[in-house]
Amino acid sequence: MTTAATLRASLEQMLTDKFQVDPATITDTSTLTDLGLDSLAVVELIDFLDAGLDLRLQDDALHPAMTVDEAVAVLRQGSAT
């Protein structure tokens, strides 16, 4: 199982590389909406995470109101299966 820190780093990198999110704005409690992602962007994020981390997330695994912390928890579950 991948560690929370590793998953968080991957998520941050995805947000900054693919969605041009300013790394300074990413905190544990910032929501994906806060970071500028709308519902379509979140589906896109799921595709990027699936491909980059070899996951099989459901289309509704993440949603815009989720915080970074909550998203990392979902990724941990996904990487455990």
Partner: protein
């Protein structure tokens, strides 16, 4: 009827172009004046019966739009953004400062996001997930929707779709939004990026494309005796339109006047033009009537002429009947290929430049004028000519015709 409160004069205050001759008005105008074809073998078309096209060279969408926005847009929208931003810059307009409720966006496209649809269909066939952005990238209306969103233009926003006449239709309808007072500014034009396997293969099956695989640079040759079909191209042309008084009030420099617009349908055949070009003639006469002019006033025509054996002959016959050799004629598709829904807008922009620069670009690859064509077609080199009234002709599959009359300010 002119004067304060009833200002019917619509002028062009900005132009933007992205074409196979280059990105920007200067690169495109220079390329068209040089009279060189931009058709090249295209790697995406390898193995097809026709494997060449006119592609915009070195277009890096992420550099223009940022990677995030670029990824969410089909190429035809990306091209329109770049052309539109250039047109607004030339007009001296800043979207951050305008009253968006008075700004309309009318853009033409024949194919919309067809390249994205092809890509995503192939992903689906391979069992891969399709992009969540597929629908907003493919739906034709999104071209105008995306531009309105980007610029905060909150007036009427729609896409004109009349096949190869779409760009001309969009500019004509945009001018009407100004004449009726609905808008104060209209960003109008056309964009298409149909250079992909499905569209190329489909046009090839219709025998519409030139099959000159060995010499693509000689394939697009409007009015030439050896023409054998058009060359598919991509690009975007955008004009900023305003009422004359409005433009003058903000100190903008008008480039040319949209003197008239006419549109018609052949109601004759799904693809073939009417043998006498009667629909196109009707549209030309309507544009002249709106301009308060007659055929005798026309001294230049940017022809639709796509380099097909039949289409060029029909249009040339009509032009000869109306103008004889009194009007200079050019087809810029020799240089740029046929850019479908963008063609009319690119050609309207080039006609604006012909008017302002007093120069008619040559028809690339016109070596031996078809002996059945009795027109003064400009070929070889650009020709200096002060223009009093020009027409820009467009005809589309489905028999849809649109014509703009343009004059100096």
């Amino acid at each position: 009827m002119t004067g304060p409160g009833s200002d019917q004069n619509v002028v062009v205050t900005g132009v933007g172009l992205v074409s196979a001759a280059g990105i920007g008005v200067d690169a495109t105008w220079k390329g068209v004046l040089a009279g060189q074809s931009t058709a090249r073998t295209h790697p995406d078309l390898a193995g097809l019966a026709v494997d060449f096209a006119c592609e915009v060279p070195g277009f890096d969408p992420a550099a223009h739009l940022g990677a995030n926005l670029a990824r969410r847009m089909d190429r035809h929208s990306q091209l329109a953004f770049v052309a539109g931003d250039e047109a607004l810059r030339m007009a001296g307009l800043r979207p951050q400062e305008w009253d968006g409720t008075r700004v309309g966006v009318v853009i033409g496209t024949a194919f919309g996001g067809v390249t994205t649809l092809e890509d995503q269909t192939l992903r689906l066939a391979r069992g891969e997930p399709v992009s969540a952005h597929t629908v907003p990238m493919v739906a034709p209306n999104m071209l105008a929707g995306q531009l309105s969103l980007h610029w905060g233009a909150r007036g009427p926003s729609f896409v004109a779709c009349t096949a190869c006449a779409s760009g001309t239709t969009a500019i004509g309808l945009g001018a009407q939004l100004l004449r009726t007072g609905v808008c104060d500014i209209v960003v109008a034009g056309g964009s298409d990026a149909p250079v992909n396997r499905i569209i190329t293969a489909s046009f090839a099956r219709m025998s519409a494309l030139s099959p000159r695989r060995a010499a693509p640079e000689l394939a697009s040759r409007p009015f030439d005796a050896a023409r054998d079909g058009f060359v598919l191209g991509e690009g975007a042309g955008v004009l900023v339109l305003e009422r004359d008084g409005q433009a003058a009030a903000r100190g903008a420099r008008p480039l040319a006047r949209i003197a008239g617009y006419g549109a018609s349908a052949d109601a004759h055949h799904v693809a073939a033009p009417h043998p006498q070009g009667s629909g196109l003639e009707q549209a030309m006469r309507a544009a002249l009537a709106e301009a308060g002019a007659t055929v005798a006033d026309v001294d230049h025509v940017n022809a639709h002429a796509t380099s097909t054996p039949k289409g060029d002959l029909v249009e040339a016959g009509l032009l000869a009947r109306l103008f004889g050799d009194r009007a200079s004629v050019t087809s810029t598709k020799g240089a740029l290929g046929h850019t479908m829904g963008a063609a009319g807008a690119i050609e309207a922009a080039l006609t604006v430049l012909a008017v302002t620069e007093r120069t008619v670009p040559p028809t690339a690859n016109l070596e031996h004028l078809d002996p059945r064509i009795e027109l003064d077609v400009v070929s070889g080199a650009a020709r200096p000519q002060p223009i009093a009234l020009a027409l820009s002709n467009s005809s589309g599959f489905g028999g849809q015709n649109a014509v703009l009359a343009l004059s100096p300010c």
